[in-house]
Symmetry: C2
Subunit: 343 residues, 2 copies
Amino acid sequence: MTKTTPQTNRRIVLASRPTGAPTADNFRLEEVAVPALEEGQLLLRGQWLSLDPYMRGRMSDAPSYAPPVEIGGVMTGGVVSRVEASRHPEFKEGDLVMAYTGWQEYAVSDGTGVNKLPAGFAHPSHALGVLGMPGYTAYAGLIDIGQPRPGETVVVAAATGAVGSLVGQIAKLRGCHVVGIAGGAQKCEAAVKELGFDACIDHRAADFPEQLKAACPRGIDVYFENVGGAVLDAVFPLLNIHARVPVCGLIAHYNGGTLATDSAAILRRTLTQRMRVQGFIIFDYYVNRPDLHAAFQQEVGNWLKQGKLHYREDVVQGLENAPEAFMGLLQGKNFGKLVVKLD
Amino acid sequence: MTKTTPQTNRRIVLASRPTGAPTADNFRLEEVAVPALEEGQLLLRGQWLSLDPYMRGRMSDAPSYAPPVEIGGVMTGGVVSRVEASRHPEFKEGDLVMAYTGWQEYAVSDGTGVNKLPAGFAHPSHALGVLGMPGYTAYAGLIDIGQPRPGETVVVAAATGAVGSLVGQIAKLRGCHVVGIAGGAQKCEAAVKELGFDACIDHRAADFPEQLKAACPRGIDVYFENVGGAVLDAVFPLLNIHARVPVCGLIAHYNGGTLATDSAAILRRTLTQRMRVQGFIIFDYYVNRPDLHAAFQQEVGNWLKQGKLHYREDVVQGLENAPEAFMGLLQGKNFGKLVVKLD
């Protein structure tokens, strides 16, 4: 054996639970020894760590669809890794895999939940975005719940984000009028020029509700909800009869935050417009809808190969910068899918 | 011709629009001459007038799914009538028909929207309730949106009302655990003893939320929403993962009224529980789902004949008493489907 086990794993653990927006104090960088492999185990060297809004939920111990990260536990996260060493029959050194090994550089695994990337995967980090969880989130929420028809108006916020950028592009490919919402002129310009949205409105503009209304002259048929807050307040009065609102995320409320529209008004409009408001967690679609997942992989994979989908990554270098990048993500500072290069 | 045209029609018109709860001032009883029939027309003598919560919406000029009643116009309403005279080829004297001829004793019609009751219809007033719009509302909302599965817990408010009483009984027939909510001990007792609900909770009780929770030990899978307000506040924390909430009405809000649950909390729970909240207007189901309407007529008609469904009417005598009865309906004073005997 010429190969030696690396000595040190760097990892980021939850030091304390945030109240409101997370701060640097809530995270702690630790260095620990990597244990020697036992029979049936494999050692993963992280290459790309995905940072996603859902992680804010894991930092809280409020009831949720998934258990929280324990205090002192490694932060949850999807990682694309290279198999560094293997004593597991199904994996060999050099395999590229995706697994939820968390915010760390190395992980020892028994293979559970470790998925090899398909051969010919052009960019390993795509497994964390357009061809991974955010991509399937966009696809399932839009297609299964949103059910957009050609000519309908689809609105999505965080228009240049990992999910929003795909929602809008898929809706365009389905023949819809697509209006994005984003923070700042640069993102709005990219949504129109790079992603092909019909319009993109800056939610920071003083007359944002009026601009949104003007961009949706036939109202809104599908609102892919991933932010909540003031964006939802502006969208709600524009929703058409039989509008569909897949609720994918509420990033404006993860750190607190309120709505101007009161709940009775939301229900009244849901009734009079015969709207469908439906929350979803992509995990359910992985478990219950393998048919839809296969359709997603084929359709989005083909669009990507054919150059019909633009996919932008916002790459941060080094594990130690993950907390700051994650805090920025919750404020919309990223531009494209946020990933951390680990090696 | 021995037959003479009746001289006088009594009708109730909208005198003014209510702010908050309607008052007697908002209605006016008028007497007008019945016009002579022209060729192609028929004269309808009202027998049963249906009073339903949706009529509160027609009294307002706020945007809605249907145009408001004009000031001075006859109040909207479904009526079972006897054809008194006919110069229309498809109708003959003595036919029993259902039509939206409004709060009046006589109406002249050209036949549009006039539907003959099927032969063998045991009780003509059933066409306004269990076999009519309220029945189809209960059936379509529960079956198409609620999608109850055996063993699931279904909760419905206004449990002894026209819609709620059917929702609960149909859910029982589908094998569900059914919990009603009603105002007062008498109605709650009737829901359990007459209608066969597993439990019925009095929303006026000080510990109503705790009682509701105790009656739903496995949480709530389907909440058929027809009231809103404090009932919804108590229901919301109990909704299970993948709960379905058909929103049929919001009677607690028709005259104003707020919710304690804020809208961000509603959306958050919709997301974390992956709930489906869907408004519906039964009119759409008449237009778009003739298949479901046929299934409703067959299934509910059979249950009724077989004595599997209990149906209670709250009968008010005389058109002049319709306004007071309607005002009481909005306060839950009725006990069963509210109808006015016109002749």
